[in-house]
């Protein structure tokens, strides 16, 4: 029944999701305008938009396991919308960093990116998100064919880079950053079969030419010899 409701009112649901995600950003702009964020809001703005992007990325990655678990196929339609919002938050985050924090000094940006791994990780995550956003258009998706899914699996790389970027950037209060790392680990764990498949495939490909040795009782025992009493 839930599924039927979702199916029928998808456009309303989409509109509500848009609203729910845009609202915090609008509120942030209002607070900044009103001077409610203190004497120098750069750090707050950076953290707010960065954490917003991370939260949205995790929500996006939660859609498929959730939809599969509860057999709510219509939810899959929300993934592109959510993914593009991740990009929007990440773009504001990066723009604040470049314009407000670094004062639009592009040479400094270049040096900082190369000398500080946490910034490099953030940039790489942003590059992945950018590639996925550009190719999210239906026309491009069709043209890319099977390559499209391969490209969009890179989101898992972003899901690792982004929380590590956050973890490395905080000065104190690591607890929150660690929670993000744990959630990222869990989201990837849910996809362990999919993520292991290419590894396994490669493993088998490498192993294939060699004749596989049957494991004899003796060799198994030899391996277990370490704890001989």
């Amino acid at each position: 029944m839930v599924r039927a409701i979702l199916q029928r009112h998808m456009s309303v649901i989409k509109a509500l999701v848009h609203l729910a995600i845009a609202a915090p950003l609008a509120h942030l702009a209002w607070q900044t305008w009103q001077g409610q964020l203190g004497g120098d809001p750069v750090q707050y703005l950076t953290h707010f938009t960065g954490k917003g992007a991370l939260n949205l990325l995790f929500i996006t990655l939660l859609v498929s396991p959730f939809a599969k678990r509860f057999k709510l196929a219509p939810l899959f339609q929300l993934r592109r919308l959510l993914g593009l919002w991740v990009m929007a938050y990440a773009s504001v985050h990066l723009a604040i960093f470049i314009y407000l924090d670094l004062g639009n000094d592009w040479a400094l940006l270049f040096n900082e990116t190369l000398s500080r791994p946490y910034i490099l990780f953030g940039m790489l995550a942003f590059a992945v998100l950018l590639a996925l956003s550009i190719t999210s258009h239906n026309g491009i998706r069709k043209r890319l064919g099977r390559q499209w899914q391969k490209l969009h699996n890179w989101v898992y790389l972003a899901a690792v880079l982004a929380p590590v970027h956050y973890y490395w950037s905080v000065k104190a209060g690591l607890a929150e950053a660690i929670i993000y790392l744990v959630v990222a680990g869990w989201l990837l764990f849910l996809r362990r079969q999919k993520l292991w498949a290419p590894v396994k495939k490669c493993w088998h490909a490498c192993q294939a030419p060699k004749a596989s040795k049957p494991v004899t009782r003796q060799s198994a025992l030899n391996h277990g010899n370490i704890h001989k009493t």
């Binding site: 004497g39 750090q43 104190a172 209060g173």
Partner: protein, 269 residues
């Protein structure tokens, strides 16, 4: 509360002052929370009275002073200093206070006194950040200086800013200001000063010795792993702070460089 300035010190600092509203609303004071706007919010109920400060250790005359005694014994002067945070933002602040040297002379340091250790109030009931599970820094906050740094005429015990007593979020009622060092050295709301023979532990150094040193002198040539120290964001009256180059010893090179003669500043950061 308004404070009367009893001694005028000529000032040759031509940089624009950071507006008072920004000095008092953008603070790193983890005792009241880790966000910059937490201290002003969470210190509203903090009453710095009554307050006593104890000075002991390698001294001939231990004392415990209350604020009345301090105001009676010391002429309050205004000092306009740059404040450079290790996070690469900076301000220009008109502090009110008196030289730390004057306070230390009072207790007659012994010949064994090589360092000065400072301690912030520990009172989780009044400083809610000290209870927070999310703050990973240990309390009470402690800091330290060498005796030579402590006796330097630039080193100030501050009791106010912008013509008034210190707001709680800026370290009421009494804090240290060492203008050539990163802001975290300028410990707030001091209750205890101990003169020691050995180098005392400092909070940030204990937490991350590869990131924060005992000296913590402002130095554009020695980067912090997370922040470039070559430039800083000067918080002024505009919305966007201005990126300006950071000066060696925060611009106080002429006054303090001699303190570090022969010291490898890359090693002793």
């Amino acid at each position: 509360k308004p404070l009367t300035i009893s001694k005028k010190v000529p000032n040759n600092l031509t940089e624009k002052l950071t507006p008072e509203s920004k000095v008092t609303s953008h603070n790193n004071f983890y005792e009241f929370g880790t966000n910059k706007t937490d201290p002003i919010e969470n210190s509203k109920l903090f009453n710095p009275e009554p307050w006593t400060i104890e000075i002991d250790g390698e001294v001939k005359q231990k004392v415990t002073l209350d604020m009345d005694a301090i105001f009676k014994q010391h002429a309050i002067e205004e000092r306009i200093y740059r404040l450079r945070c290790v996070e690469a933002w900076s301000m220009v602040i008109p502090w009110l206070g008196f030289p730390l040297a004057a306070l230390l002379k009072q207790v007659k340091p012994t010949s064994k006194a090589k360092y000065v250790a400072f301690q912030t109030l520990y009172d989780p009931e009044r400083m809610p950040g000290q209870n927070s599970r999310f703050s990973s820094i240990p309390f009470p906050y402690v800091e330290g200086l060498t005796m030579a740094e402590a006796m330097h005429p630039l080193t100030l015990m501050s009791v106010g800013l912008y013509g008034k007593t210190l707001p709680a979020q800026n370290g009421a009622p009494l804090r240290l200001v060492v203008p050539w060092k990163y802001g975290f050295k300028s410990i707030k709301s001091i209750v205890k000063i101990t003169l020691t023979e050995q180098q005392p532990p400092t909070t940030w150094q204990a937490l991350a010795p590869n990131e924060y040193g005992f000296y913590a002198n402002v130095n554009p040539e020695v980067d912090h792993p997370r922040w470039s120290q070559g430039s800083e964001r000067r918080i002024n009256d505009g919305f966007r702070a201005e990126r300006i180059p950071t000066l060696m010893f925060n611009g106080y090179q002429d006054e303090v460089a001699s303190l570090y003669k022969g010291l490898d500043l890359r090693k002793f950061y």
